[in-house]
Amino acid sequence: MAQQWDSPQMVKGTGVRWSAFVIYGLLLFFAAIYVLPLVVMLLTSLKPLPEIYSGSIIALPQEWTVKPWIDAWGQTCVGLSCRGIKGYFWNSTKMTVAAVIISTAIGMLNGYVLTKWRFRGADLLFGLILFGCFIPFQIVLIPMATLLGKLGIASSTPGLVLVHVVYGLAFTTLYFRNYYVAFPDELIRAAMIDGAKFFSIFFRILVPNSAPIVVVTVIWQFTNIWNDFLFGASFSTGESAPMTVALNNVVNTSTGEREYNVHMAAAVIAALPTLLVYIVGGRYFVRGLMTGSVKG
């Protein structure tokens, strides 16, 4: 199934193809526009502060330094405490890993039940779950705050995990439901005849064959949860804040001179995990989104 989306292997004929120049020229132009902010961030983070104030923002550093990175990680002031962003980085890591694992696992089970153990009203229920994808974050803030308070997990990492799991379930259920709907029923029937029950079918047959959609879901959930700012800002305080909130507190400091190089380093650190997840899983991401649409 590898080459299915390639352009047709037409004979192109001879002669200069001006359209190719135009296409590649435009592509290079837009690629440059996209990559420019990242270049500026990286360059700035590797310059000493005086050079930033005096020079051009896209000039190469005259004196290369990694001190801003070390400062950002361990010394910069986040709000009132000056111990760097590392604590918040771990907050985000714990929160994201836990929320991604839990929401993916529950989404998987939902998709399994909605497609292979269908019951009256299954489609209606799925429609209602789907509705959750369209609820804006802002609407749930106040009820969620009340709920977290009542559960006694307000302003804590477990509280944020719960928020992200609840909000992510609609999406993970959608992904797994649509993947499993194309999963052959005959395999389930064969397993039933072989004597497998609800959970053994799930763990022995369905889960091992879900790699592409698991990658898609994990990337999607990881990116959203790691990058979330609104829930983090609303449901955490001080030391329990996730990375995104801490980054805001670093950058929006109102005292002293603005350490742009440290800010840039902190911002790149904040963006690294999602970048890493995408580089590792990106290949499967595209493939996963395509599966089900084409037999293979």
Binding site: R189, M192, I193, G195
Partner: protein, 370 residues
């Protein structure tokens, strides 16, 4: 190995009747083939036997025991699916052993059983491969291995050969038959292919639109079809169904075959069954297999067989014999002639009819009269 009884099985989806009271019972060791056009309910019936679909009404008994409410895994059956349904994440060995693993059979015993079955099916060199690395025929064998290894009381096959190419299909058909002869197992086999039904079955159930039209041995189904549908469905080329009028003249009976714009043709009938006589002077449908119309006249006498004259419209040499479409009283009928027949399209030929193979149907109901 066990007997199987289906007692007045019905299946309803709301107002829709999928199965309208099916009664079939087969002895232990029989090979029952459910055959019929798509949508006739044969697969539904098989799924009900397997426990993969619920029974609206009626009883299913395996070995005399009612199994309606038993989970598929408790019915002691094994099923081979059309798509083979091999678990893609498991090796061949794990696929075959999965059922035993779920039943908590100890590992050494499982491995012994896998070894035996894979040797029988000649897949012992494939045990460590994944299904994706196998050819269609090999997958088919693994699917059968998975069923065989459990030594169930009944084997269920759901169109197992329809995904194979023509040559392999014939080979696997023979293998399945050999397997049945060696194991003496009770098998229920669903197919829409009438040749598979004829070659494999000890008993055939022909179904249409949720009804059982006929249950019988392949010979009964072929030679004495219960109605025109069964007659037309079983056999290739199809049985000729010739509408005509039964007439009596000068003490002898004949069938007059007529159609608009053509001279009526006459088939002299030296003898007819008594039940057919009731149709004297009325319309009746004669059913005649192509092989009962031959060009072997044996020096013109045709030893008492009536001889007809007909124009050859088309000839189709198949190798072992030549099929010819003849025009009899303006109606097309197919005859199976000798392979070295020299008749050409447009020629007038003389053909002998084997009356012992002739069956009669009521034109209105389609039911066999005699």
């Amino acid at each position: 190995m066990a007997s199987l009884e289906l007692l007045n099985i019905r299946k309803r989806y709301g107002e829709l009747d999928i199965l309208k009271g099916i009664d079939i019972s087969v002895d232990a060791g029989e090979f029952l083939v459910l055959v019929g056009p798509s949508g006739c309910g044969k697969s539904t019936l098989l799924n009900m036997i397997a426990g993969l679909d619920t029974v609206s009404e009626g009883d299913i008994r395996i070995g005399g025991r009612r199994v309606n409410d038993l989970h598929p895994s408790e019915r002691d059956i094994a099923m081979v699916f059309q798509s083979y349904a091999l678990y893609p994440n498991m090796s061949v060995k794990e696929n075959i052993a999965f059922g035993m693993e779920m039943r908590k059979v100890p590992k050494p015993e499982r491995e012994q059983a896998v070894k035996e079955v894979s040797k029988t099916l000649q897949i012992d060199h494939l045990l460590d491969r994944r299904p994706a690395q196998l050819s269609g025929g090999q997958r088919q064998r693994v699917a059968m291995g998975r069923a065989l290894v459990r030594k169930p009381r009944i084997f269920l096959f759901d169109e197992p050969l329809s995904n194979l190419d023509a040559q392999l299909r014939v080979d696997m058909r023979t293998e399945i038959k050999k397997l049945h002869q060696r194991l003496g197992a009770t098998i229920v086999y669903v197919t829409h292919d009438q040749i598979e039904a004829m070659t494999l079955a000890t008993r055939i159930a022909v179904m249409r639109a949720g009804e059982l039209l006929q249950l019988g041995s392949p010979a009964e189904i072929y030679n004495r079809p219960a109605n025109t549908f069964v007659a037309g469905f079983m056999g290739s080329p199809r049985m000729n169904l010739i509408p005509g009028t039964l007439k009596s003249e000068a003490g002898g009976l004949h069938l007059e075959v007529a159609s608009e714009g053509a001279a009526p043709a006459r088939v002299v009938l030296p003898r007819v069954p008594d039940a057919t006589r009731a149709y004297l002077g009325r319309e009746i449908t004669a059913g005649l297999r192509p092989e009962a119309i031959s060009d072997k006249l044996d020096g013109g006498s045709a030893d008492g067989r009536p001889v007809i004259e007909a124009v050859v419209e088309v000839t189709e040499p198949t190798g072992p014999d030549t099929l010819a479409v003849l025009l009899l009283g303006g109606r097309e009928i197919t005859a199976r002639l000798r392979p070295d027949s020299t008749l050409k399209a447009g020629e007038l030929g003389r053909f002998a009819i084997d009356l012992s193979k002739l069956v009669w149907f009521d034109p209105a109901s389609g039911a066999r009269v005699a």
